[in-house]
Amino acid sequence: MVMPRTAATLLSLTLAALTLTACGGDTDADGSAAAGTCDPSDVKLVGQVRNESNPYEASWLDGGDLFAASVGLKQQRLTYDGESTKQQEQIRQILAGGDTTCLVMNVLPNGDSDTLPIVRAADQAKAFLVTQWNKPAELNPADYDRWISHLTYDGVESGRQIADALFEAMGGSGGIIALQGVLDTAAAKDRFAGLEAALGQNPGIKLLDQQTANFSRAEALAVTKTLLTKHGDAITGIWAANDDMALGALEALGQAGRAGKVAVVGIDAVPDAVKAVSESQMTATVSSDGPWQGGIGLAIGYCVATGELDMADITDVQRAFFAEQFLITSKNAGDFLAPKTDPAGFKCDNVFDRVAAPLT
C-alpha cells in the first residue's frame, strides 16, 4: 500500500514539475510536441458506447467506422452493456496495450461519475480522449493535456423545441400529457425543464398529467393507455422525453382508436420515429446526429494526434460545448430518413463547425 502511494506522489511531483517547465515556455515536449508527431497510419481509433442493441448507439459506431475508413484506418468498436465497471475495465485494457500515445478514444461515459476515472487513465497513458453526453459540471477538459473535448447537447433546448412544435400542431390550445425519462438523469430533468419553459409561454396549453416511463417503449405504452383512460378526449398532445416513449405512446393511441387525433413529439430521431414523422404520424423529433457523434470524436482526436490541429489553437469553448441539434418535422424528415454523414464535416478545419454554445 505504501509503495504505490509513494510512487504516485513521485509521479505527480514529476508531472507538476513538467507542467511548470511547460509554463516556463522553453519546451512543450510532453504535451503538444508529442501530440503532433503521430504518423497517420500509427493512429489507433477506439469508439466505445453502451451497446449495439439500440439504433442510436449502433449508428454512432457506424459513423466512427465511416470516419476511420475515410482516413484509411479501422475503428475498434467497444460496448459495455451499460455497466460502469465493465466500461472502466475495457478502458484499462485498451490503455494497457503497448504504446498508447497515438491512441484516440471517442467515449460515451455510462454516467457522470464514470468520466473522471476515464479521463485520468487516458491522461496518464497519454491517449487522446473525446467524451460525450456525461460529465460532472466541475470537471473541465481544459485542465487536462489529453482530454481534448467534451461535447453534449442542450436538453433544455431540445425539450423546448419539440414542445413548441407540439403546441403549434395543436393550434396553441389544448391539453397535453408528458412522459418523462428516468427521473434522476440529467437528460430527463433538462428536457422536462424545456417543456416547462415552453408551457410558461403558452398559457393556452394545459399540462394534464406527467408520468415517468423510464425512456422505455413498453412502459410508455402502458402509462399512455392509463392516462388516456384518465383524461380521455382532453388529451390532444403527448410530449415524450425520447422517441422510444413517443413510439410507445403512438401504439397506445392506435390501440385506443385515437391515432391521428393526438399530436406526439419525441427526442433522438431514431429511425422508426423519423419514419413516423415523415408519414405525419408523429409531429416532431430532435436529432443529435448519432453517426456524426461517432465520427467527430475520432476526427478531433485524429487531427490533434497527427498534428493537423494544435492543442494550443483549440479554444476553451471548443473543449467543452453544446453541439448543434436539428428539429425534424414533416417538412424535412425526408432528409433524415437515410442516415447520411458528410465526410467533409470530419476534415480538420471543420471538426468544430457544430459548436452551438459553450457548455454551461
Binding site: N51, S53, R217, T226, T229
Partner: protein, 332 residues
C-alpha cells in the same frame, strides 16, 4: 406403512397453513381495488378494467413460466434475454419492414420454439452440470440478448403482418386478443400444474426432491421439461410484446424477469419451491398491474410512485403472511 403415518401430522399442518396463505393475496387485491375505486372515479370504469386486463396480459403469460420454475425451488433469470431473442426473431420472420419474409404463424411458432430451446439449455445445464439455476439462467439470458443483438443488426424490424398486429388491437367481447391469449395460457398452465405428471412432479421436486428421487422418480427430465416449458411461455410473451410495440426490440423483455418473480412471490408462490402455483401467481400479476394503473389514476406524483408501490406490496405481503410467519420459510 410407517412413513405414511409419520407424514400425516406434517401434512395436515401444511393444509391449514395453505388455506390462510391462499386467502391473503386475493384479499389484498380486493382491498386495494376497493380503495382505488373509492379514490378514483376513472378507476372503477369498465374501460379501465379492460385496460388493466390488457396491461396484465404479457406479464401473466411470462409469470406462468416463472411459476413452474419457482415451484421446482429453482429461479429463472432468463426471461429478459429469451424474450429479446424471440421478439427479434418473430419480428424478422413475419411480414416486416426489413426483409421480404412473410412466414406468418410459422414465424411465431419458430420464435416460441427458439425460446423453448433456450429454456431447455437452462434446464440441461442445471441438471447435467449441476450448476445453480441462478447462474445458468443468467448466462442463457446473456446468450438470448446476444442472439437478439445479432438479429437486430442496427435496424429495428417493424412488424407489418396484419394478423400479428391485430393481437394487440383486435377485440373479442370487449377484451383484446392479448387478454384472451393470457386467459388461455393461465388456464392451460393451471391444468398442467393440477392434472399432469409434469405439474405434480414440479411441485413435489420443490417440496422434497430427495424423497422423490429416493422413491424412484428420475427427477432430471422433469426439471428440463419445466425449464423448456417456461421458455415457451417467455417466447409467447415476447411475441405478444412485439405485437403491442409494433417492432422487435432487444430490450422488450428487460423488465419482465423481476416483474414476473415479484408477481409470483406476491401472489404466494414461494421462492423455496413446492408452494403456490399458477393461480396464486396470477393474483400477484393482477395486484401489481392494478397498483401501477391505480397510482397513476389517483394522481400520485411520479417521483414517489415507485416507492409507494414497493411499500404497498411489502405491507400487503406482510399482512397476508402474518398468521404463518413462524413457519413461512421465506422469512429466513
Amino acid at each position: 406403512m410407517a412413513p405414511l403415518v409419520d407424514t400425516r401430522p406434517a401434512r395436515s399442518r401444511l393444509r391449514r397453513g395453505v388455506s390462510v396463505r391462499d386467502a391473503g393475496p386475493p384479499i389484498a387485491l380486493l382491498v386495494i381495488v376497493l380503495i382505488l375505486s373509492l379514490l378514483s372515479p376513472q378507476f372503477r370504469t369498465m374501460g379501465n378494467a379492460l385496460n388493466i386486463l390488457d396491461a396484465a396480459a404479457v406479464l401473466a403469460v411470462v409469470t406462468c413460466g416463472t411459476t413452474f420454475v419457482l415451484l421446482l425451488g429453482s429461479i429463472d433469470l432468463s426471461a429478459a434475454g429469451v424474450m429479446g431473442a424471440s421478439s427479434l426473431v418473430v419480428a424478422v420472420l413475419v411480414e416486416n419492414s426489413r426483409n421480404n419474409l412473410d412466414l406468418g404463424t410459422l414465424g411465431i411458432l419458430i420464435a416460441v420454439v427458439l425460446a423453448a430451446a433456450l429454456g431447455c439449455v437452462s434446464g440441461l445445464l442445471v441438471v447435467l452440470l449441476k450448476v445453480p439455476s441462478f447462474m445458468t439462467t443468467l448466462g442463457v439470458s446473456a446468450i438470448g440478448l446476444g442472439v437478439a443483438t445479432l438479429v437486430f443488426d442496427g435496424v429495428q424490424p417493424g412488424v407489418v403482418d396484419p394478423s400479428l398486429r391485430s393481437w394487440a388491437t383486435g377485440r373479442l367481447l370487449g377484451l383484446t386478443y392479448l387478454t384472451w391469449i393470457a386467459v388461455v395460457c393461465v388456464l392451460l398452465a393451471w391444468f398442467v400444474q393440477r392434472y399432469t405428471r409434469l405439474g405434480r412432479y414440479a411441485m413435489a421436486i420443490g417440496g422434497a426432491e430427495e424423497v422423490l428421487a429416493l422413491s424412484g422418480v428420475r427427477v432430471g427430465p422433469y426439471k428440463v421439461a419445466v425449464f423448456t416449458m417456461a421458455g415457451a411461455f417467455y417466447g409467447l410473451g415476447a411475441v405478444m410484446v412485439t405485437s403491442q410495440l409494433g417492432s422487435g426490440l432487444v430490450q422488450s423483455g428487460a423488465s419482465y424477469t423481476f416483474a414476473s418473480i415479484t408477481a409470483a412471490v406476491v401472489g404466494g408462490t414461494l421462492l423455496v419451491g413446492g408452494r403456490g402455483g399458477v393461480l396464486h401467481s396470477t393474483v400477484g400479476v393482477l395486484l401489481l398491474t392494478v397498483l401501477t394503473n391505480g397510482l397513476v389514476l389517483i394522481g400520485v406524483s411520479p417521483y414517489v410512485q415507485g416507492g409507494v408501490q414497493g411499500l404497498i406490496v411489502v405491507v400487503a405481503v406482510a399482512v397476508a403472511a402474518a398468521p404463518l410467519r413462524h413457519r413461512n420459510q421465506v422469512v429466513k
